[in-house]
Symmetry: C2
């Protein structure tokens, strides 16, 4: 089985690659090759007897997507994209990478003609408020960010290219991915991870919003689990609607902090300082909170059920590595 991963140098891309190299098979079929793509050059991990190669190119440049698909991968994980904040700051770049890059890749898949499984990382940014208490699977995707608009367009392409038989696509609206490893970043959503990761390393962290804010979280480990499950799933069971809201642990920031106290003790929690930020607060109020995710649950997509589990996944996978 041949695998292609775009955006492979990103956090999820690297964790997905590591998991593929550990499991060495998807749905019982042995992995024979992995092509890793990103816009920047990066080093391939050691892969033993799996043929591994890296590719650096801009997918929106004519010919670059076609050369990636030349090897006729059985599964394409399309993770490449400009993140939300950058898509908002750099309008043209966001459309070029998130829309044109995705369309070029899907067109290359169509030209190849072998209709592979394509797993696409969409986002809960496809939703725009106001929201009901729990967002049902058939809630409208009416985004209020350029990133969300680009993801809606990618989802529409994915569904249409699948319906036409050009590929067998599954789109995943990833929830908040927490705890992100690495340094604090300036993403408005960064605090969800910062308030856990930094104190666990003995460092201070700022909480810029009230403790009542609710978000649905899944760990990077669970996100990789979603991707691999989507690669293996029966397309007929997914049906014609190819883009799925996913389950996760829907908790308040207060509950996140209580979980941190349970897992790591009260002294760790004392490293969190509350310092209200109006700009972040204004954005957070437009973010979706809880998802019904009935279809994804029925299709056996699994996430953590508590934030305690999410913290423990971070400690095992990142802090102690």
């Amino acid at each position: 089985m041949r695998i292609l991963v775009t955006g492979a140098a990103g956090m999820i891309g690297r964790k997905l690659t590591a998991r593929l190299l550990k499991e060495r098979a998807i749905a019982g079929r042995a992995i024979t090759s992995i092509d890793l793509h990103d816009v920047v050059p990066f080093d391939a991990p050691d892969a033993g007897d799996i043929a591994i190669a890296t590719h650096a190119s801009d997918l929106s440049v004519p010919g670059s997507a076609a050369s990636l698909i030349e090897g006729r991968p059985d599964i394409v994980f399309h993770l490449a994209g400009i993140v939300s904040g950058q898509a908002e700051a750099e309008f043209d770049l966001g459309y070029s990478v998130n829309l044109d890059g995705t369309r070029s890749l899907f067109e290359a898949v169509r030209s190849a003609g072998h209709a592979p499984r394509v797993v696409y990382t969409s986002s809960i940014a496809v939703y725009g408020g106001p929201f009901p208490d729990v967002i049902p699977d058939d809630f409208h995707t009416s985004p209020l960010s350029s990133y969300g608009a680009q993801k809606v367009m990618g989802e529409a392409l994915l569904q249409d290219y699948t319906r036409r038989g050009f590929m067998d696509g599954v789109g995943l609206r990833l929830p908040g991915i927490t705890v992100r490893p690495g340094k604090p970043n300036k993403a408005a959503s960064g605090f969800f991870s910062n308030i856990i990761r930094e104190p666990l390393s003995g460092l201070p962290a700022v909480l810029p919003v009230p403790r009542s804010v609710v978000c649905t979280h899944a760990s990077p480990r669970a996100a990789v689990g979603f991707l691999i499950h989507a690669a293996a799933i029966d397309g007929a069971a997914v049906g014609p609607h190819r883009n799925l809201a996913l389950p996760g642990a829907a908790v308040t920031v207060g509950e996140q902090i209580e979980a941190l106290a349970r897992v790591a003790g009260n002294d760790v929690v004392k490293l969190i300082r509350e310092e209200h930020d109006d700009t972040i607060w204004a954005m957070v109020q437009n973010w979706p909170t809880r998802f019904e995710a009935r279809r994804a649950r029925a299709l056996d997509f699994k996430a953590e059920e508590s934030f305690d589990e999410i913290i423990r996944a971070y400690i095992e996978d990142d802090l102690n590595q």
Copy 2:
């Protein structure tokens, strides 16, 4: 006030132009010029002291949209598009016209920098079944046709370009437009008009689906009314969600036929022959039926409330002309 109409040679485009030339103003502001665009050359109607010009070009070709926007129109009616059946039959053409053409036009508007009102004709084809009895405004747009996918993408662009301040867009999900003047066509939805128009001219018509089929209809006159209302409406009242499901007369085919009997007599109805068509029936079952259209009603978009009115509008506007 300067007006630009794309797709001006089509049925709705011609009726919109006639109405603009009759009213000579929008929201009390006098119309000084009308630029009419289509992909095929066509003749401009007589416009008196309003400067009128026609333009034939492919909007997806670089530069063609920019030249249309050069005159900095105050209102752009973007009606141009490949219809549903053709977008399904000619995949590349559909994306080129309905997606690339729309994006080029919106990019030209963005470059011009004067943020005009853009009224965009979307469609109820953005919805894919299964459906609830009445489709609420926040029902997901998960289309099951290439045309629907392209319209979803146009809607996402419209909303994002509006949010970013590049234009002041309003997207209208037109319901079934009935009664269409002209000859019977092979569109799967053609029978909704055929069974009214043909008998009114003393000609036979075929009904290929059961009388229980429900569809929401508005007359071409009401469709033009929607467009002009959208051109004049306060953008702040529309809010951040810029694409609207519209009201209409939701009736069964049986109720359409009963209305025809009331308006034109039983002998006219006898010209309808029932001849089941499995292909059309299979498609019709995936079409949306009734819409709540709460937002559009609150914004004062008006349609016919009965199918009798729709038939009378056809008799006045087309049959007797």
